[in-house]
């Protein structure tokens, strides 16, 4: 392989300009908003256009300079990247540190079939290494050579790298595809509108000013309405406003889901999963099967109605390891059915059968504890807040107590843990439910917690720390907790398989 410095295709300038623009927006959002607000009055349309053109020129100039100064070398075991206009920077990315490669196709590259290759490296996580405007073949060749390098480290270098045709056949048949209907369903079930409704309702009293202005602008005189209209009409009006807001948010959520997840396909080849999706920008996420830390089965209450669930393949989170903000890409599969989840779970863990898992529920003492530690404090807080307000001083503690009690009960109904052939399943949830499935040997650390009271009742709390998240199961039988803890530690110790 030649070790000459290579330039990217000139079309990379577009990518750099867009990235620069987004960075600019992110860093100086407040400043830009301020400038816009200040200059809003005395600017004609022509002046605005001139300013925008100037900004655009600067961006293009900057990106062109950046492009001219950007070069990379692909060596047998590492990348060298040279970048920077004024302050030069040289980055070395050894293949062994690359956890994950992602192909992304922004909409402006689609006519040219160019892609952006992102590399997540374990060490320098907050720095994104991206090669823009590569041809698809070139990017896939780079991915293959990184993959071959990894396989070469694991075993002896084998013939595997000389049979891309066989793997190409595998890639033709996706494990999972999602229709537009599934994606829309996901967008509807996972929008924040319901949350906004719940949070915004108590703020209603403070909303009267802006609402009044809104109504006035539409031509409604609120004062007159309040005087003449009945409570029912007013209530209906408020409901209408909130329904409108919820509808708008749902539309946004569905649009977002379609943009990101349209035409989703999951492939498996060469020991890794690939997910491709996206309407305008095409995304391709890759994850090695051995790097899957947890399988997440997530079903919120709307999913429950639709009888679907969201499946997530979670890699280890860099955030947990070095506190940086960058997270490894998860593979999210929207609106899958229970059977599909079981199939993919069996694909990830060949000897694991999700339906065979017997979940052990949490002790009923959890309810009693919830009564003391959640229901009572909530009632006291509500009583303190509503003290002296007629009727509410009785109603508020009662209502909040009932709500929290219901939450504690629902949570207790969901909490549980089970094992099947060296795989642990932890269940939680409130109205909906979620399961976390993982191989016992992926456990990093085990915590066994027991107060004197619990010890007398033979109960214990178990916490299993993984590289992706920590999972806690409270108040289960102590022999069960000790058994699971022991099996996880044993599997971690005995297993030749690495956790990564």
């Amino acid at each position: 392989m030649s070790s000459d410095w290579q330039r990217l295709s000139p079309l990379a300038i577009v990518y750099f300009a867009v990235r620069g623009f987004i960075q600019l927006l992110n860093t100086y959002a407040v400043l830009i908003a301020g400038v816009i607000a200040l200059t809003q009055m005395g600017l004609s349309a022509g002046q605005v256009v001139i300013y925008l053109l100037a900004v655009l020129m600067l961006l293009v100039l900057g990106s062109s300079l950046y492009y001219l100064n950007f070069a990379y070398v692909q060596e047998p075991a590492r990348f060298l990247i040279r970048e920077g206009i004024f302050s030069k920077k040289r980055t070395e990315v050894p293949f062994s540190k690359i956890q994950n490669t992602t192909l992304k196709q922004p909409f402006y590259y689609r006519p040219f079939n160019l892609v952006v290759l992102n590399m997540d490296s374990a060490g320098s996580s907050n720095k994104e290494v991206a090669l823009a405007a590569l041809s698809r073949e070139k990017a896939e060749a780079i991915q293959r050579s990184i993959q071959c390098f990894h396989q070469g480290v694991g075993h002896e270098p084998t013939v595997e790298d000389s049979e891309p045709s066989a793997s190409a056949d595998v890639e033709r048949a996706p494990i999972l595809t999602r229709s537009t209907f599934d994606v829309v369903l996901h967008g509807l079930a996972h929008n924040r509108a319901w949350f906004i409704l719940a949070v915004a309702a108590p703020l209603l009293s403070r909303m009267d000013q802006p609402l009044e202005r809104l109504f006035n602008s539409v031509g409604l005189d609120v004062a007159q309405l309040v005087e003449h209209a009945s409570v029912i009409v007013l209530g209906g009006l408020v409901l209408l406003v909130f329904a409108g807001a919820a509808f708008l948010l749902s539309v946004f959520s569905v649009a977002g889901a379609i943009l990101a997840l349209y035409d989703l396909k999951l492939f498996y080849s060469n020991g890794s999963y690939h997910r491709t999706s996206g309407l305008l920008n095409r995304y391709e996420i890759q994850m090695k099967r051995s790097r899957v830390q947890t399988l997440r089965y997530h079903q919120n209450w709307l999913d429950l109605i639709a009888n679907r669930l969201t499946m997530v393949l979670e890699p280890f989170s860099v955030a947990a390891v070095d506190n940086s903000q960058s997270m490894m890409q998860k593979i999210l599969l929207p609106s899958v059915t229970h059977a599909q989840f079981c199939n993919i779970a069996r694909h990830v863990y060949p000897d694991f059968d999700f339906d065979e898992v017997a979940i052990h529920r949490v002790s009923a003492l959890y309810l009693l504890r919830g009564l003391g530690f959640a229901v009572l404090p909530a009632m006291l807080a509500a009583a303190a807040l509503a003290a002296g307000i007629a009727l509410w001083q009785w109603l508020a503690p009662l209502l909040s107590g009932l709500v929290v009690l219901a939450a504690v009960f629902l949570r207790w109904r969901r909490l549980g843990v089970g094992m099947h052939s060296n795989h642990v399943v932890v269940r939680s949830g409130l109205v909906g439910q979620q399961y976390f499935c993982f191989a016992a040997h992926k456990v990093q650390q085990v915590k066994f917690k027991q107060s004197l009271l619990l010890k007398r009742r033979g109960l214990a709390t178990l916490e299993l720390v993984l590289a992706s998240r920590a999972l806690q199961v409270p108040l289960i039988d102590e022999t069960l907790a000790a058994d699971i803890a022991g099996r996880c530690v044993e599997a971690s110790t005995l297993s030749e398989q690495s956790w990564m």
């Binding site: 947990a320 990093q444 650390q445 099996r487 530690v489 990564m500």
Partner: protein, 170 residues
């Protein structure tokens, strides 16, 4: 079921008496407690001197309570520092802590990222050290074993490194 049997036949993870920490650690904890109490008392005094209008009659009525509270805190600190202990086994290390709420943490060596010995100024004064075992579970799950005599900590670190289980060696 066969896997269950296999694992249950292995040694029980919660058997065996934990090694207690050094006696000096108890003294260190008590000293720290008194330093905190002194800081709190000084802060209260400063507030009183700066703003003499603050009504301290309530405090003056109850000041005799300070002594029993400090005694109780001392008892708790002594108990909690004595409740801590560790068990070193061939492939893992367990850390025991807690007086009323007991926590046993087990860290398999195969999942270790690196090991560190840290010594704060007070620890150096007492000739103590803290052994930290880092795993990929994240910063808040780092196992820290305080109150070890320095040679003891170094010996433990040596034995863990010898166990050849470290994650990066795989």
């Amino acid at each position: 079921m066969s896997t269950t049997d296999r694992f249950q036949s292995q040694a029980n993870y919660f058997a065996g008496e934990p090694q207690p920490l050094s006696e000096r650690y108890t003294w260190l904890c008590c000293l720290l407690l008194y330093v905190y109490c002194a800081v709190a008392a000084i802060a209260a005094a400063i507030v009183h001197f700066i703003n003499a209008k603050v009504d301290l009659s309530v405090v003056q009525e109850w000041y005799w309570l300070a002594l029993p509270v400090v005694v109780l805190l001392t008892v708790y600190v002594v108990m909690s520092s004595r409740a801590k202990g560790y068990v070193l086994r061939d492939h893992d290390m367990s850390f025991y802590a807690g007086v009323i709420f007991k926590v046993i943490t087990i860290q398999p060596f195969t999942r270790l990222q690196h090991i560190e010995i840290t010594r704060g100024p007070l620890e150096r004064l007492f000739g103590l050290a803290t052994l930290k075992l880092f795993s990929a579970g994240g910063a808040q799950h780092t196992m820290a074993i305080p109150g070890l005599l320095l040679p003891q900590a170094e010996q433990l670190r040596g034995r863990i490194l010898e166990s050849k289980g470290l994650a990066y060696e795989q």
